[in-house]
């Protein structure tokens, strides 16, 4: 492709990198990435992907911006209270970079709509705040063979894993079924240091860009754990489970499951 003058300037620091160049930047511009949630994780992910020039960014979220979100959800601001997060994020990302087209999906993901929504994207980024969605997204990505960059945060900690169906473990290889309601502290009890979502979301964005460019080693088959208080990173190997109910040799989960919602940050 021929870059415009503005694009040459905007992406010059990418083009300079031997691992990117004009060819890599073109791949980034042609990439289609969908964010599950435009909250603490989805905000920094979308921000950096928009800055990088990811041409099509989908945003799945049906919540509205609340004042309690603004301690960490940097895609939104005080002037957007009450606005749908998908619309607020679209405005932020498209204003940052006119090369980016944001497609909003203002609905809650269910077994009924998820495949239709994610089928047109190359990479799915999970920044959801609850187990039912996390498992639903994992299973749908395995079934449609979509690369999934999954992450979660809790208090001062975060974890990230990149799932490439057929090439490594999935989320269910790690935790076969969701914990029962009551076993985990609800999000209202848990709390989160705002900046932790920024660090973990930024790592997710890094993974997405690496996958688009086909460079480096994504967190495929390993779970990255980060603790803000110790400032420690740890990588744990995650083997592929041959008996995994969704990506194993004899899958028992062949239909998507809607687990009961038992925790939602939006309340």
């Amino acid at each position: 492709m021929d870059f415009t003058e503005d694009q040459i300037l905007r992406y010059s620091r990418h083009i300079l990198l031997p691992e990117v160049g004009g060819e890599g930047q073109e791949r980034i511009l042609n990439a289609r990435v969908v964010l599950v949630g435009a909250g603490g994780l989805g905000s920094p992910v979308g921000y950096y992907l928009a800055a990088a020039g990811v041409g099509t960014i989908g945003v799945i979220d049906n919540d509205r911006v609340e004042i309690s979100n603004l301690q960490r959800q940097i895609a939104h601001h005080t002037g957007r209270l009450g606005v749908l997060k998908a619309d607020s994020a679209k405005e932020t990302f498209e204003t940052l970079n006119p090369d980016v087209k944001v497609i909003t999906h203002k609905e809650r993901l269910t077994s009924g709509n998820i495949k239709d929504i994610i089928k047109d994207y190359d990479i799915v980024v999970d920044g959801s705040d609850n187990f039912p969605t996390r498992y639903l997204v994992n299973d749908a990505c395995v079934m449609l063979k979509k690369t999934l960059v999954s992450a979660a945060v809790f208090r001062f900690e975060g974890q990230v894993m990149t799932i490439v169906p057929g090439e490594g473990p999935c989320y269910r290889c790690l935790f076969e079924i969701p914990p029962p309601p009551g076993m985990v502290p609800s999000c209202q009890e848990a709390g989160i240091l705002g900046v932790v979502t920024g660090v973990i979301g930024t790592i997710q964005a890094t993974e997405v860009i690496k996958v688009i460019l086909g460079i480096g080693q994504p967190l495929k088959g390993s779970l990255l754990l980060w603790n803000a208080l110790d400032m420690s990173f740890r990588k744990v190997k995650v083997p592929h489970n041959r008996e995994c109910p969704v990506c194993g040799e004899h899958p028992t989960i062949t239909e998507l499951i809607d687990y009961e919602q038992f925790c939602s940050m939006s309340h």
């Binding site: 010059s12 691992e19 990117v20 890599g24 086909g214």
Partner: protein
Amino acid sequence: MEAEANNGFIPQSAIANPQCEVTMADELKIDKTLDIKGQVCPYTFVRSKLAIEKMGLGEVLEIVTDHKPASENVPRSMENEGQKVLKIDQVGEKEWHIFVRKDKDKVKK
């Protein structure tokens, strides 16, 4: 020091760069000329890199710059990315012609 492009005179900038093979200008078949006079670093290399990416293996790109740091930095960056710098001619006080052959096609992984 003034160096004519076609009299076999080796420009100082080429002597300073031992990787640089000096050939007579009229032996070179130039496939594309990129005039980036007025451009400064890093856009000198950004634009040179974008130009050479679009060329075929073995083709020769001539880069014309009036930015002295670029006369050193662009050839070095080109070599770092696996391309072959054939010659650097200084023409007058403030103009350099850099000849680069495309030896590498894919981005480095």
